[in-house]
């Protein structure tokens, strides 16, 4: 994405804030 998006290239993306596995883990536990 930095190759075509100057905003991304100039930013330090906080990747850990872009996703959570918390709810999928619960769903997987519910439907084993």
């Amino acid at each position: 994405m930095p190759s075509f998006n100057p905003e991304i290239k100039a930013s330090e993306i906080k990747l850990h804030l872009t996703y959570t596995n918390e709810f999928v883990k619960k769903a997987n536990a519910k439907y084993k």
Binding site: M1, F4, I13, T18, T20, Y31
Partner: protein, 233 residues
């Protein structure tokens, strides 16, 4: 075949900051989901979960609003008219520099599920992505994941997004018609559009990305994600 291999996939995401959630209780029963082209197989898990009543099983009342493309669905969440967007993961990345912190909580596919094709009338002169320079390329909507994939694809050959003409054609019959009638020279789109074009004599080339998640797990992910369905604006 044009395999992009970016790893971008359809997801469900909502805005941070999330509210604290007491496990086991619904924070929000009525959830408004914005989708950019619901008829696309890209969003099949959402439709299956809806049609088979999986959201209802989780105690949720879902309203789904369909938009022409992912960028418009995204705007619905950012603007506060929807709680959740069913769209591409990369939106969580390109919204951060704008101060909008979206969080993915369910991944709906394991492959991008977006293909790039070129009209047969142009195919003979196509050897690499740089040959798309100056052509009219149809995407679902400007700024959507189909546009992002295209940008990524042509960047491999040193082209800038401005080196092609982007035309929004949606994710349905209009996209097929646009290529068949010569309104566009190439297309970045999802199934069923790409399959229809593949079997039409006027177009060819596509990749074969597939793998959807279990829709029941997706619905459970929604119900478990109550804290993330609150828009912070």
């Amino acid at each position: 075949m044009l395999n992009i291999g970016t790893g971008l996939t359809a997801i469900l995401a909502a805005l941070w900051p999330a509210l604290a959630l007491a496990q086991g209780s619904l924070e929000k029963k009525d959830v408004h989901i914005a989708v950019g082209g619901k008829a696309s197989l890209y969003y099949l898990p959402v439709t299956i979960a809806e049609q088979l009543g999986y959201f209802k099983d989780e105690g949720l009342v879902i309203q789904i609003s369909d938009f022409a493309g992912g960028s418009q669905a995204l705007r619905a969440v950012v603007g506060g008219s929807a709680d959740v967007v069913s769209g591409a993961y990369e939106h969580t990345l390109n919204m951060q520099p704008k101060g909008q912190f979206l969080q993915c909580f369910v991944q709906q596919g394991r492959a991008p599920q977006i293909a790039i094709g070129i009209a047969k009338s142009r195919a003979a002169s196509y050897k690499s992505p740089k040959d798309l320079k100056g052509l009219k390329v149809g995407v679902s909507a400007p700024g959507s994941s189909t546009n992002m994939i295209l940008n990524s694809f042509i960047a491999k050959d040193g082209l800038k997004p401005s080196d092609v003409s982007i035309i929004g054609v949606g994710l349905g019959a209009a996209a097929v018609t646009a290529l068949k009638t010569g309104q566009i020279d190439a297309v970045s789109n999802t199934d069923p559009v790409m399959t229809k074009l593949e079997y039409h004599p006027g177009a060819h080339q596509r990749d074969r990305p597939r793998r959807q998640v279990d829709p029941r797990r997706l619905a459970a992910g929604y119900s478990g994600n109550r804290s993330r369905v609150v828009s912070s604006g």
